[in-house]
Symmetry: C2
Subunit: 352 residues, 2 copies
C-alpha cells in the first residue's frame, strides 16, 4: 500500500472546505484600498490618497490562554475579535489608520466548522476596526496540538502621515490622562485567572457565579474592545491636542504606560474607579496581592489617552460619541526616580 | 499564600531576558526605512522614495511540522530562516521589495536560549531577504504545547509600484518557464516525509543515510532558500519581460503554478531534471505514488519564473549572477480543459 499525505494526518480536502467557507468572510471586510483579497500568493493593499510621508505601523499578537476558555466553553466565534483587537489596538496607539489584518490559525486536526467560526470572529473584528481581512494561513500540524485545540496569531498594518504620529515626543509634562474602560480581562492574565478560579476556588468555568451574574467562563470570554472608533473620534475632536495613547495589555498600567512616557515624566492616577467585578472575584479568590493584580490585569482600563491639559471634557465627549464611557483618571508630572506610575487614593487599596 | 502570575506558569523575567537577547538581532536587520524597531507598541517603517502608486504586499505563513525535525535534532537556529523564506518568497512573487517582517513565537514554557536561537535564525533570514525584523510576539502558553516544543508564525510586508506588479495579467500564452532549484523540502510535506522515514522505513531522524551522505534529520532540516536576490536580479535584467513568479509550496507545482496562470493557459514541463536524492528516498521508502509526490513536495523546484519567449538565456544568466543554478524547464501554451500542468518525459515517471 502506498502512503499518502492524508495517511500522515494532513487533510487537504478539509482545508479546502474551510477556505471556501471563509472566502465570503474576507469579502465582507473589503475596503476601497484592497486590490486582491484571500487567494493568490499574497494580499495586495493600496494606500489612502494625500499622505505626505506615509509611515507603515505594524503589530502582531496572540490571545494567550484565553483560548483555553474558548475550548472549555466550545465557543469559537468571538476569540477572533480578541485577536484583531490585540493587534489593532497596538497599531492605533500611534494614531495610524488600520489598513489590513492577516491571521495564522494552527491546529492538530483541522475541523472546518471550528476554523470557520474562528475566522468569522476575526472578520467581525476587522469590520469593527475598519480594516480588511487580507489573508491568512491555516496550518494543520498533526501531533503539535491537543485534539480540539488550536493557536492563533494575528498581524495588522496601518498607515499614518509621519507628521501626525502620536507618542512620547508629543507628551507635555502636565498632560491629563483619560481612561477608556475595558470590557473585562481583554486578552491578558488568563493563566492566573484560570489558576485562581479553577485551582484556588475549585470552580468550573461552566459554573454560575452570583457576583458576576454569569458563568465564570462567560465573564472571562467577553471579547476585547476594539478602540478604532474611539481613536478616530479623539483625533477629529482634539487634533494635535491628542498626544499619546497607551494600550493596557500584559503588565497592566504600571508596565505599559511608561512605554509612551518620555524620560523625566511620570503619571499620577488619583481619580481611580472601583474595579469591575471579575477582578474583585479573582483578587479575593486567590488571594492575589494588589501589586500583582495591577501588573497582570488591565483592572477595567483598556486604553489611556494623554491629552493637553484643559481638553479633558472634550476628550470625554469625543469618546462618548464613540460609545465609550471614558473618564479623567489622573495627570502626568515631572518626576526623577521612583515608580513611573503612582496610585493615589485607589479605592481598591485595601485588604481583600 | 497569595497566588502570583509565576505560580500560574508564566515567567515574565524569562520573557524579559529573551527580549534583551533578541534586541541586537533586530538591530542587525535594520534598513534605512525603519523608524522604530523592536519595543514600543508597534513597529514603524517608511516607504522607498519615488513610488507613483505604492501597493503593499503581505504574506503570512508558518513552517508546519518541519518544527518537529528541529525539536528532534534540538537545533533551533535555522528554522527561523525557513519562516522568513515562506513569507518573503510569497511576497516576492508579485515583484515587491520586502520591507519588514514580524514573528509570533509561542511555547508552553519559555526558555530564553531556545527562543533566542529561533530569533537568530529569523534575523539571518531577514538579512538574506533584505528586510527589517520590525517586531514580534513571544507568547508563553502553559498547557498548550509539549515541553521543549513551540510554534512559529511569520508575517511580511513588501511594497511595489502598481504598474510593476507581476502576475497573471502579464502572462503571454507562449511564455518560457525557468526553474530555480529548491534546497530540499523547504517547509512543506514534513508530515508525510516523517511518516515515511520514521514509520514505513523505521529509521530515526538521527540515523545516517548512505544515499543522503547525512542523517535524515540533517537533510530534512536544510533551510528554505530565500529568492530575494534572485528576483531582484531577474527584474534588473529582464524588466517587463519578467511576467510572473510561482513559489512552489504545499500542493507542489500542479497546485501552485495554476494560481498565476490566466484562464485558458496551461503549462508543459518537458525539460525536467531528476529529483534531488531526498525525494527519491521518500518515494521509495513509502512507497509514495508519483502523483502524490508531485502534489506534496517541490521535488527540487523552489521557484518558477514565467518570462517572455526568447529571454530564457538572459533569465538563466541573471539567476546565475544571484548564485542560482536555474534552467529552462518548459513553456506555457493555450489550453482548454484537462490538467493545467502537464509533465512530458519526466525522468522520474517510472516504477520506484
Amino acid at each position: 500500500m502506498a502512503v499518502t499525505y492524508r495517511d500522515a494526518g494532513v487533510d487537504i480536502d478539509e482545508a479546502n472546505s474551510m477556505i471556501e467557507r471563509i472566502k465570503p468572510l474576507g469579502a465582507r471586510t473589503k475596503t476601497p484600498f484592497v486590490l486582491e483579497g484571500i487567494g493568490g500568493f499574497a494580499g495586495l493593499c493600496g494606500l489612502p490618497q494625500g499622505l505626505e510621508e506615509p509611515v507603515l505601523v505594524s503589530g502582531t499578537d496572540g490571545v494567550g490562554t484565553k483560548l483555553k476558555v474558548a475550548f472549555a466553553l466550545q465557543k469559537h466565534d468571538t476569540i477572533g475579535q480578541d485577536l484583531v483587537a490585540m493587534c489593532v489596538n497596538d497599531v492605533l496607539t500611534t494614531g495610524a489608520q488600520p489598513l489590513f489584518f492577516l491571521d495564522y490559525f494552527a491546529t492538530g486536526k483541522l475541523k472546518a466548522d471550528t476554523g470557520a467560526a474562528v475566522v468569522r470572529g476575526i472578520a467581525d473584528g476587522c469590520v469593527l476596526a475598519g480594516c480588511a481581512l487580507l489573508g491568512g494561513e491555516t496550518a494543520e500540524l498533526p501531533g503539535m496540538y491537543a485534539d480540539e485545540e488550536y493557536d492563533l496569531a494575528g498581524f495588522s498594518v496601518g498607515v499614518i502621515d509621519r507628521k501626525n504620529l502620536l507618542g512620547p515626543a508629543r507628551i507635555q509634562a502636565d498632560d491629563s490622562i483619560i481612561a477608556v474602560p475595558s470590557t473585562g480581562l481583554h486578552s491578558n492574565g488568563y493563566s492566573l485567572a484560570r489558576r485562581v478560579i479553577e485551582g484556588e476556588m475549585g470552580a468550573k468555568l461552566t459554573d454560575h457565579c452570583e457576583a458576576l451574574g454569569a458563568t465564570y467562563g462567560e465573564a472571562l470570554l467577553t471579547p476585547t474592545r476594539i478602540y478604532a472608533r474611539a481613536v478616530r473620534s479623539l483625533q477629529e475632536r482634539l487634533g494635535p491636542d491628542l498626544h499619546a495613547l497607551c494600550h493596557v495589555t500584559g503588565g497592566g498600567v504600571p508596565e505599559n504606560l511608561p512605554r509612551v512616557l518620555p524620560d523625566g515624566v511620570g503619571a499620577v492616577l488619583d481619580q481611580l474607579r472601583p474595579w469591575p467585578t471579575i477582578f474583585r472575584v479573582i483578587r479575593e479568590g486567590g488571594p492575589v496581592e494588589l501589586d500583582e493584580m495591577r501588573r497582570t490585569f488591565n483592572l477595567g482600563i483598556g486604553l489611556l489617552c494623554m491629552v493637553k491639559k484643559g481638553r479633558e471634557a472634550d476628550a470625554v465627549a469625543a469618546l462618548a460619541e464613540a460609545s465609550e464611557d471614558a473618564y479623567w483618571i489622573g495627570h502626568l508630572t515631572e518626576q526623577s526616580g521612583g515608580e513611573r506610575v503612582r496610585y493615589v487614593n485607589d479605592p481598591e487599596d485595601r485588604t481583600p
